[in-house]
Amino acid sequence: MRHQGERLIRFKIRIKYCGGCNPHYDRVKLVEEIEKYIRTNISGEITITTRDESADVGIIICGCSVCCVDREHIKDGTYQWHVVGPDMLDYRQVPITKIAATLFAVLMEEGQKT
């Protein structure tokens, strides 16, 4: 994540979905909401990728509380990961309607630190 004063100018997010065997909510719709929220609230070059490539931050999208895809081999340590599940962000309870806003606030806070 890079800054120009207080504003982000380039920001790449990697999305890693679980396999979706029995999801408790619409995962794709939630990712769309997260993307829309970020694009609405910051200006700059925002890239969302589902490929296995470098990024500024990664978001693991889990369809249920098992979070089977939250594995160490995915989180290889090169960038920060956040885990989203049904009414959950980083294993703390967050209503699904507030996940986009809460995640954005977390990302901004982390951006301030870097």
């Binding site: 979905y17 679980c18 396999g19 979706g20 029995n22 895809v69």
Partner: protein
């Protein structure tokens, strides 16, 4: 690097096949576009389509242990427990997306069983079946092929072994051995998804003795090899798909099919032969394939998801969803369905590594799972029909509903809740009918009963694997029984 076909490429690849297919006594000239067969092709297509979607790829794809490339999981050899678990999850996913049998699991189970049996035959006899098989597997993975795993012979008189049958062709057997291969004759029955497959993988159907060694054969052929003929099986309500409407078939997009596959003196080159007269390994191959395939009935959990969703919907349309007994029945449907899910996850989680390196399910638990599958879908279907009501089977046709003369009466008298369209009520009833006694009931009910072996086959496997002695010892110790050695 991905070598996976898209759904469109899969359909195109089927059009290039030169299959000999018969249905209703006539040769089918255009298999892919035939309205009765087409929904089954659509279901297999989903196995290709979902593999390309980021939101499903974690389950639908794997990394080949041969090439290191990203492949469709249906072409994968299980390399660890996680692979076995993802296989079960993939079954539920696809069942819940299609509401029917998606046909491709049987080939996956065949290649995994052969990866173990060919290795074990080589270890005993110094043959090279595993090397041949791995070369064939690489071809399947590179081309992302759908394989039909064909085990069930017609079997004739069940009291007689293959070599004592009045007609020797009632079990697949070799009739000629050549320098470049073998010639086989026989048939395989109930072949799910046969005409949607690029390849057909043959395995023996029972344990065999030396007298039956000509029947102890396993091989693979292109599905359009010369001498192979397919005869499509009938399904309840099958011709509704050719009536031209879009309501009465219940599931507008997906379905399954089965076929009798005839091998009329078909040549098989040696490089595609994976077992040849090693009769003492026929039983092992049957058992390994069957155990994997019994795990594969995870798909019925996904179809159960669809049926539960449909049942809750008709309860709401009927205005009955708040009745306590209806709520309780919906809970029971879910309890039964999730119990099935427990079984397919458990047999995967308790799997183990075989000498070949392939991971194999816990066979006791996979047989217990399949035994439950022979029962619970019937109970889930019964509860669905209970809640749906009799209209499901007395509802007039779509053509009546759309008739300018009488359609108004259907609209009026088949109305449920006043604010909901009558047509919605009709459509959801047709879907429940489809799954519980229409074309999809072939897969959800009778296939659950007999597919991957009839109930007694699982009970025999269960009886062979339970440790009754140790259970008795504990019981006796706890109540103070002391027996002399």
């Amino acid at each position: 690097m991905s070598i996976m076909m898209t759904a469109a490429q899969y359909e195109e690849s089927l059009r290039k096949l030169n299959l000999v297919v018969y249905m209703f006594g006539k040769k089918v000239e255009n298999v892919v576009d035939n309205p009765i067969i087409r929904p089954s092709m659509n279901a297999v297509s989903m196995t290709y389509e979902l593999a390309h979607k980021p939101e499903y790829e974690d389950i639908m794809t794997a990394t080949s242990h041969i090439s290191g490339k990203k492949i469709n999981r249906f072409c994968h050899i299980h390399q660890n427990i996680d692979d076995l678990i993802k296989k079960s999850k993939m079954g539920r996913l696809l069942g819940s997306q299609t509401g029917c049998c998606f046909q491709r699991c049987v080939g996956m189970d065949a290649i995994n069983a052969l990866s173990m049996t060919t290795f074990d035959i080589d270890a005993k006899y110094g043959t090279e079946y595993n090397k041949r098989f791995l070369k064939y597997l690489e071809y399947v993975q590179e081309k992302d092929l759908t394989c039909d795993g064909a085990m069930t012979d017609p079997k004739g008189d069940r009291s007689l072994p293959p070599h004592q049958q009045a007609d020797p062709d009632l079990f697949m057997h070799v009739i000629e051995e050549r320098n470049d291969g073998i010639v086989v004759r026989g048939a395989k029955a109930h072949q799910t998804g046969a005409v949607n497959s690029h390849e057909i993988i043959i395995m023996p159907t029972i344990s065999m003795r030396e007298e039956d060694k000509d029947y102890a054969i396993s091989f693979a052929l292109p599905s359009d090899a010369e001498g192979i003929t397919y005869i499509i099986g009938r399904q309840s309500c099958d011709t509704r798909k050719s009536e031209g409407g879009n309501m009465d078939q219940g599931n507008l997009f997906f379905g399954g099919h089965e076929a009798l596959v005839i091998f009329d003196d078909v040549f098989v080159p040696w490089e595609r032969v994976f077992m040849y007269k090693e009769y003492n390994f026929a039983g092992q191959l049957v058992e390994q394939f069957a155990s994997y395939h019994r795990q594969s009935y995870a798909c019925k959990v996904g179809v159960g998801d669809v049926l539960i969703g449909a049942t809750q919907t008709i309860a709401e349309y009927n205005g009955a969803d708040r009745a306590s007994h209806v709520r309780d029945k919906i809970i029971e449907m879910n309890q039964l369905n999730e119990t099935l899910y427990c079984g397919c996850i458990a047999c995967a989680s308790e799997g183990h590594r075989e000498p070949s390196g392939t991971y194999y399910v816990n066979t006791l638990l996979s047989n217990v799972h399949k035994q439950n599958i022979t029962r619970f879908p019937y109970e889930i279907a019964r509860l669905a029909q209970d809640i749906a009501g009799g209209l499901m089977v007395t509802l007039p046709s779509e053509k009546d509903f759309k008739s300018p003369e009488i359609g108004k009466w259907m609209e009026k008298y088949y109305k449920g809740k006043a604010d909901l369209p009558t047509e919605h009520r009709m459509r959801i009833l047709r879907l429940i009918e489809n799954i519980t006694l229409g074309t999809a009931a072939v897969g959800y009910l009778t296939e659950s009963m007999h597919g991957a072996g009839s109930p007694q086959a699982q009970r025999i496997m269960i009886s062979r694997q339970i440790n009754l002695k140790s259970k008795q010892e504990v019981a006796k110790r706890l109540c103070g029984i002391k027996e002399k050695d």
